[in-house]
């Protein structure tokens, strides 16, 4: 357990998802914001309990979709009306109905890509190193245990008081996380 020195935070281990949910609510209510929860499967209500119900991702996707649509549309306008005016059956060169399909497809493509890339960027991924893995018991987070970590960066963090608070929330273990 030799990390790079310093305390990253405190990790509490729980046996039941109900205990994790209750602990998350309590810690959030106490004013802690740099809190992360780990569970082997999606726990409904967990994100809300940690105050993470609002995400900026939809706006990223909307912006990506609109960019794709506008880009696709004007690419076609440029190609068949400006750069090389193309007469198709006597229609105006910039005939919008024909351009809608490509614009729509590019909106989907850019929307999908910005959902993926935006999700990764907002999550701070990929992240090859994370201190919680310094706690050997943390491997159980992908099996049958639930974890809640409070990070030392949190303004309310205090090694002793935070430990005391977590100890009241029926954990089966509390560990210091080395950086």
């Amino acid at each position: 357990m030799t990390g790079r020195g310093g305390l990253f935070g405190v990790l509490a281990e729980f046996e039941r998802k109900e205990d994790l949910l209750a602990a998350a609510r309590k810690v959030h209510a106490e004013g802690y914001r740099k809190v992360e929860a780990y569970a082997p499967f999606p726990v409904e209500g967990l994100a809300e309990a940690l105050g993470m119900d609002r995400t900026r991702l939809p706006w990223v996707v909307l912006a990506g979709g609109l960019t794709g649509a506008a880009g696709g549309f004007f690419m076609q306008v440029f190609a068949s009306a400006v750069d090389d005016p193309l007469n198709i059956g006597g229609r105006p060169t910039a005939s919008w109905p024909a351009f809608v399909v490509i614009a729509f497809e590019l909106a989907i493509l850019f929307g999908g890509l910005s959902a993926l890339l935006g999700m990764l960027a907002l999550n701070g991924l990929p992240q090859p190193y994370h201190p919680v893995f310094n706690v050997p018991r943390f491997a159980l987070a992908s099996q049958d245990r639930f974890f809640l970590s409070v990070e030392a960066d949190d303004p309310r963090f205090d090694p002793d008081r935070t430990r005391t608070l977590l100890a009241e929330l029926r954990p089966v273990g509390i560990y210091d996380v080395e950086r």
Partner: protein, 396 residues
């Protein structure tokens, strides 16, 4: 307890009496209109008939869809939709006045058109008055039989929990949806497409299916939101379930926009004389503006509003949105019928409201009466046990 029980009943009683009275007044105005200005009356009457039929048949379709796929969202709109679908036999009666206007509306029923038009003459084995009426009777028969059978089974399930009966309802819904789809397709061809002498479009039935599904769903959401002023609906219509219903409304909005635009794109690209007529009849400046407004209120505005979780989770916002979309549905049917019937005259300003109220008054009275006679939420239908469970796990 008795007070809260009696109160909505009284409100419904008042609604039934008021709607029936309005229906009578509207019907009287319709009678006057049919005699004095038939060329402005019958197209308006067709629009009104399509509007109310769309809500009823669309409710039936969403009902069967929910019986097949399940989820708690459908239980909230089930009783309003069963009531709306239950009004279909009355709408069958309101089809009959249309018979007086066949020659006013349809080129294929005018001897002088049939005589001078080879193409129309070749269509007469299908497009003739007796067969037209027989087919309309078949559509209403299919819908009404399905509506009555589903409502009977659903009410029987309220009295005794019976998994076999619930399974039978699901078993009826699969073939029922196919029968519904065929009936709507033929209805759209008969009643609306044949307003034009030559025009055809293969996606036409699908546009009406999307529109009817949207009508039925919006009417259900509107009714559920109004009923949610009191228990039990108040406790069952949670923000999470409103969100589910909002997503479904968004799906139908997209389906309508997709099919409507696909028809336009294909016909515009082909630019063939026998197809382009329909859009030429809608290319006068006034109709162009109408199309722009329709694209906004039937697609763009609800699309962007329904992207927002805040809108989808608010009972008030969803009520306004569902009401607005029903208005947009009326606009779409106006757009489908009036330019083809060639009757956009000033008299429409009173014949259309008269027809809407004349049919709608009786429709609303009948649907409300049906709604009164059953518990507002299903009692033993699959999924009801989750209705008042905690929000956690209540999705889907």
């Amino acid at each position: 307890m008795t007070e809260t029980r009696r109160d909505p009943g009284n409100a419904m009683d008042r609604l039934i009496r008021g709607a029936a009275a309005a229906g009578l007044a509207g019907a009287a105005a319709c009678g006057a209109a049919a005699v004095t200005v038939p060329e402005a009356f019958f197209p308006a009457y067709l629009v009104a008939l399509l509007f109310w039929t769309g809500i009823s048949a669309g409710s039936l379709a969403v009902l069967m869809l929910h019986l097949l796929v399940g989820g708690t969202w459908g239980l909230l709109v089930r009783r309003p939709q069963e009531a709306a679908a239950g009004a279909l036999p009355i709408l069958a009666l309101f089809f009959l006045p249309l018979l007086g206007g066949l020659e006013t509306l349809y080129p294929w029923s005018r001897p002088e058109v049939v005589g001078g038009d080879e193409l129309v003459r070749h269509r007469t084995p299908y497009l003739n008055a007796p067969f037209f009426v027989a087919r309309a009777g078949t559509y209403f028969g299919v819908w009404a039989v399905l509506a009555i059978a589903l409502r009977r089974g659903s009410l029987a399930l309220d009295r005794t929990p019976d998994p076999a009966a619930a399974r039978r309802l699901r078993f009826l819904s699969g073939p029922g949806l196919i029968a519904y789809g065929l009936a709507v397709t033929f209805m759209a061809v008969d009643w609306v497409m044949s307003l034009e002498a030559h025009w055809f479009s293969t996606i036409f039935g699908m546009i009406f299916m999307a529109g009817q599904g949207l009508s039925g769903l919006c009417a259900g959401v509107l009714a559920a939101a109004l009923l949610a002023r009191r228990e039990p609906m108040a406790g069952a219509l949670t923000p999470g379930r409103l969100n589910d219903l909002g997503n479904l409304v968004l799906t139908f909005v997209l389906l309508w926009a997709y099919t409507s635009f696909a028809q336009y794109l294909i016909i515009w690209s082909g630019n063939l004389p026998e197809e382009i007529d329909w859009y030429l009849h809608r290319s006068a400046p006034g109709w162009r503006a109408f199309a722009a407004v329709l694209a906004t209120v039937h697609f763009a505005a609800p699309f962007f509003l329904l992207l927002s979780k805040r809108v989808k989770r608010s009972r008030r916002a969803m009520m306004i949105l569902a009401g607005g979309l029903l208005g947009a549905r009326l606009g779409d049917l106006f757009w489908q019928v009036i330019p083809s019937a060639g009757a956009a005259g000033p008299h429409l300003a009173w014949t259309l409201p008269a027809a809407l109220v004349g049919i709608g008054g009786f429709w609303l009275a009948a649907a409300t009466a049906l709604l009164r006679r059953a518990p507002l939420l299903p009692v033993h239908a699959p999924g009801t046990e989750r209705l008042f469970a905690s929000e956690e796990g209540a999705h889907g």
